[in-house]
């Protein structure tokens, strides 16, 4: 090998390494973490980043060095040196990457095992996913149900996920944990929030035309505030019924993620505007109540012009009768049903 080639090569590698380090450190690659699991995932992320930056710098240095030093002069038709291989080098670049990926594998396996630990007394939350809405239940608190997830800080939560129609995926970027909800099986994921705040819940598995709108919110609050909320929410749920019942059904089934409906403060744009139900019923040529009920249980019976068929999930036909009734009443009352 040429004299000084190694030194120059290392110099190139150092420059590439500095650039790679700046690239790794300057942008915020990971969102601010808000769970213990996310912190551990962050350790793996940075460990892999260090190794990858080093390898990238090495390859970049060899390429740039070769491009600069071994360029054939114009008209130079001679051949390069007939080097066929080098057993030592070949063993080295088989063995070293092998060792490096094995270390990453071990690190990852340890973190994975730690992240699945639930401890003695996890809070249990059942997640139900359906096109295109999330709903949550607390089985340890009389099945208290909500559409905005509220969690106490610093307590491990064991989620059980179920899907009613197609596959969905539960992801909070700040928690860095993700789990698909699969029809027909129960899946589980463990999260220990360690920062208070409000974070988005995002569906990350393509679940149909309303996929992008399938979002919700998680609020991480102090233990006391959370206990207080559980109490007041349980009381409200117990005394439910009446005008509020329809609103609850509307929220829990995620109608608002696709439909605009002022009484429910929703502004979804995937499906028809529910503030204009009476006009739509006229176009369908049906009495309002019959039209609303039919549109929920058999969405393809009449499809509003400008909207494709088969988008609204057919799953709502399985709503219990009293819930369906209250939902229909809620929708009629909100759209000025008297007209």
């Amino acid at each position: 090998m040429r004299r000084g080639a190694i030194v120059q090569l290392l110099l190139f590698a150092a420059v590439a390494g500095v650039i790679a380090t700046i690239m790794a450190l300057y942008p915020h690659w990971l969102p601010p973490t808000a769970s213990e699991q996310a912190d551990r995932i962050g350790y793996v992320f940075w460990y892999v980043t260090i190794i990858c930056a080093a390898i990238f710098s090495l390859v970049a240095a060899i390429l740039i060095y070769s491009i600069v030093k071994f360029r054939a002069a114009p008209g130079d038709d001679s051949d390069g040196q007939s080097i066929h291989g080098h057993t030592g080098l070949e063993i080295a670049w088989t063995a070293v990457p092998f060792a490096l990926v094995t270390s990453m594998g071990i690190f990852s396996a340890v973190v994975l095992a730690r992240n699945d630990r639930t401890g003695n007394n996890p809070l249990r939350v059942d997640i139900t996913a359906q096109q295109f809405a999330w709903s949550f239940k607390y089985p340890q608190h009389n099945d208290l149900a909500t559409t905005v997830l509220r969690l106490p800080v610093d307590r491990t939560v064991r989620f059980r996920l179920r899907a009613l129609d197609v596959i969905h995926s539960f992801w909070v970027p700040e928690f860095a944990q993700k789990q698909d909800a699969v029809p027909g099986i129960d899946t589980f994921v463990t999260i220990t929030p360690n920062k208070k705040g409000v974070f988005p819940i995002i569906c990350t598995e393509l679940c149909g035309l309303g996929h992008a709108a399938m979002r919700s919110t998680v609020i991480v609050m102090s233990q006391q505030a959370w206990s207080k909320w559980v109490k007041s929410a349980s009381k409200a749920a117990g005394g439910g019924g009446g005008a509020n019942a329809g609103r609850t059904v509307f929220d829990q089934n995620g109608c608002g993620s696709c439909h605009t409906f002022k009484p429910a403060n929703s502004a979804g744009k995937v499906g028809p505007d529910l503030d204009k139900l009476s006009e739509e019923a006229q176009r369908a040529g049906k009495p309002l109540e019959e039209f609303v009920r039919e549109s929920i249980v058999d969405p393809n019976a009449y499809v509003e012009k400008g909207y494709p068929a088969n988008v609204m999930p057919p799953t709502f036909k399985s709503l219990p009768k009293e819930q369906l009734d209250s939902l229909v009443q809620f929708l009629i009352s909100g759209s000025g049903g008297a007209k």
Partner: protein, 646 residues
């Protein structure tokens, strides 16, 4: 093998006189296509109606079934029959005297011969490449639509159905109608030449496997006009979303079958050709790495493709026949789809890269004027990728809810694949060392590939580590990774191959300046398009959404603008290729001073490639070794063979 009739280069003897009058509609060709398609459609339709009326099913006209049977199955068969893809076999099977082979369907004497069932591997190679570039443009335009929609939050250009249909069909076209068949096309042209063979082992099968391809492609394009729009469940087509879709998904199911059949037939053809048709002296350890790469790829294709065929048939049966393969209410198993699908689709990633590895090995060795570094380890690492490639499929399913004990073993095998892949990258780098590098267009694409593929490979290491994968699954990070791997591993390498063999295929030189402009615009725009996707992905931007939160708006606008530059850069390529094909300066037989056999004949090569089957006497990469020869050709063998043996 040596008794091949060559008869000079213009084989015109024995062709029957062209038929006249209505008989023109009976001979194989485009006049026979329309009525045969109509006839076969009618046969399919009649079959469905007959069986439904016998069974007494209501309604008689059930359009899903009619579309699958008559439109997507029998009508394409009619197209192939009309064109004459089956003529020889049908004559043979029916006991007619099969016509003596007059070579009238072999080789191209005018542009019209490219629109026939042609058995010349060189014609088929060009047919493949033209067709795949056609669908590449459509797939690229769909990507532009996707990026236009993503330039701003909210919906601007299309609705959710249009958007989901666009990205699903973009991926499907790029994978099944561009990358896989473009490699098959390049290999079709080059592999028999490199082996010193006059053609592929089964020329008629070769012609048939090409003609399946436009069927698959047009089917996917036609899906946009199906009621309910194009397939919108992603190219992965996961159940149980895909089992409750409008008719478009049936087009996807069947298009994959046609494209899959095409690649299985080609792969079988390659395997037999490589195993049995090597020139004397061409041992396995003397084969160019491109041949090694296509050998491994063909093994992958033959073993893996039936799995995707199965998965798509199951989805189709669930949709049309109301079976319950993936219907959980009736005992179906939703995750089963993913296991079957990825058992093909992970090896498919290597199907889309290994041929590219082969191309790069050829280009780098020739343009660096050096033997490929560690030739045997390069070949063995291909085999290692082949074997490991079948043991990693579930790394696409770390968050899917599959049995959790599967995760760590799948992670280990996934990370281990980095080892043979690393060997290849390091060996390419070492091949450059102390070389005499010529930075012409193929070399630029090759080096662009090595650098970009390194990034794609390293982001693959991130994804291999389960905890990181859990965070970034189904985000824009995945989109970035897949494009770094496949845009470099497939598109860059196809470009390297296209420029490298363009003189051989057309007999003309391309414009070097335009080639370099094309490379640099693509290279810069590619990085500006896909690198930021890593960042927005880890920060929380999911994939496959048309609408997103405003905090990603700036990056997405930047990505979209870059992607339009990237899309526009292909215009330079087409302009260069088309004008050079017509007006470029004539290419010598061996413009790159390469040793492999395809460069030892004229450009373009004679119809039967070699006047005399060459005698291989050494490695194909002996650059800088005084007096070394790869092969002896054209009557030189008798005299020089003795000299070499002495």
């Amino acid at each position: 093998m040596t008794e091949v009739v060559t008869n000079g280069h213009h084989v015109t003897h024995g062709a029957a006189p062209p038929p006249t009058g209505f008989r023109r509609f009976l001979v194989a060709g485009w006049l026979r296509v329309p009525w045969m398609m109509a006839l076969f459609f009618a046969i399919g339709l009649g079959l469905v109606l007959l069986l439904r009326s016998i069974a007494g099913w209501d309604p008689l006209w059930e359009w899903d079934t009619i579309v699958v049977v008559a439109f997507l199955t029998t009508m394409p068969l009619g197209f192939l029959a009309g064109l004459g893809a089956f003529d020889y076999w049908v004559y043979y099977a029916l006991g007619y005297p099969s016509r003596p082979e007059d070579h009238s369907g072999h080789g191209a004497r005018s542009w019209k011969d490219y629109f026939r069932v042609n058995t010349d591997h060189k014609v088929i190679g060009v047919q493949y490449l033209s067709t795949t570039f056609f669908f590449f443009v459509i797939g690229g335009l769909l990507a532009m639509l996707v990026r236009a929609e993503l330039a701003q939050p909210g919906m601007q250009f299309t609705d959710n159905q249009g958007y989901n249909g666009a990205f699903s069909t973009h991926a499907t076209l790029m994978i099944f109608l561009f990358v896989i068949p473009a490699f098959a096309g390049l290999a079709n042209y080059v592999v028999p030449l490199m082996l010193g063979a006059p053609d592929m082992a089964f020329p008629r099968l070769n012609a048939l496997s090409y003609w399946l391809l436009p069927i698959a492609g047009l089917m996917l394009v036609a899906s946009f006009f199906a009621p309910g729009g194009a397939p919108a469940a992603g190219w992965t087509n996961y159940a149980s979303l895909s089992t409750h879709q409008p008719m478009g998904v049936l087009f996807f199911n069947m298009a994959v079958q046609w494209a899959g059949a095409s690649s299985v037939m080609t792969a079988l053809n390659f395997l037999v050709t490589i195993i049995t048709m090597r020139a004397p002296g061409m041992t396995f350890w003397r084969m160019p790495l491109l041949v090694w790469a296509n050998f491994t790829t063909s093994l992958l294709v033959v073993l893996a493709t039936p799995f995707i065929a199965g998965s798509q048939f199951f989805v189709m049966f669930d949709n049309v026949m109301h079976t319950h393969f993936f219907d959980w209410n009736a005992g179906g198993y939703v995750l089963g789809y993913q296991h079957i699908f990825w058992f093909y689709s992970h090896p498919a990633v290597y199907i889309m890269m290994l041929p590219g590895f082969g191309i790069i090995s050829e280009v780098i060795s020739v343009m660096a004027r050096k033997p490929i570094f560690g030739y045997r380890l390069m070949a063995l690492s291909l085999l290692a990728i082949l074997v490991l490639g079948f043991s990693v499929w579930a790394h696409h399913m770390f968050v899917s809810g599959m049995a959790s004990y599967l995760r760590v073993p799948m992670m280990i095998t996934t990370l281990l694949i980095a080892v043979p892949t690393g060997i290849k990258v390091f060996s390419w780098c070492a091949t450059l060392w102390e070389g005499k590098l010529h930075f012409n267009t193929p070399m630029l694409w090759a080096l662009g590939f090595v650098s970009m593929f390194t990034i794609g490979g390293l982001s693959g290491v991130y994804l291999g580590a389960v905890p990181i994968d859990i965070h970034v699954s189904d985000t824009a990070f995945i989109v970035a990774h897949i494009h770094y791997v496949l845009f470099s591993g497939a598109f860059f390498t196809i470009m390297a191959g296209a420029y490298y063999w363009f003189p051989k295929m057309t007999g003309r030189m391309y414009d070097e300046r335009l080639g370099k402009i094309h490379f640099w615009t693509t290279f810069v725009a590619f990085n500006c398009t896909f690198f930021p996707m890593h960042l927005i992905g880890t920060q929380g931007m999911p994939r496959r959404v048309a609408d997103y939160v405003p905090k990603f708006a700036d990056w997405n606008l930047f990505i979209s603008i870059s992607s339009f530059v990237l899309g526009a850069s292909i215009i330079v390529f087409f302009y260069n290729m088309i004008t050079s094909w017509r007006y470029g300066p004539p290419a010598p037989g061996n413009p790159w001073r390469a040793l492999t056999l395809e460069w030892q004949v004229t450009s373009p090569p004679p119809v039967f490639n070699f006047d005399e089957i060459p005698q291989v006497v050494g490695s194909p990469y002996e650059y800088g070794v005084p007096g070394a020869r790869h092969a002896l050709l054209n009557g030189a063998r008798t005299g020089q063979l003795e000299e070499v043996q002495r």
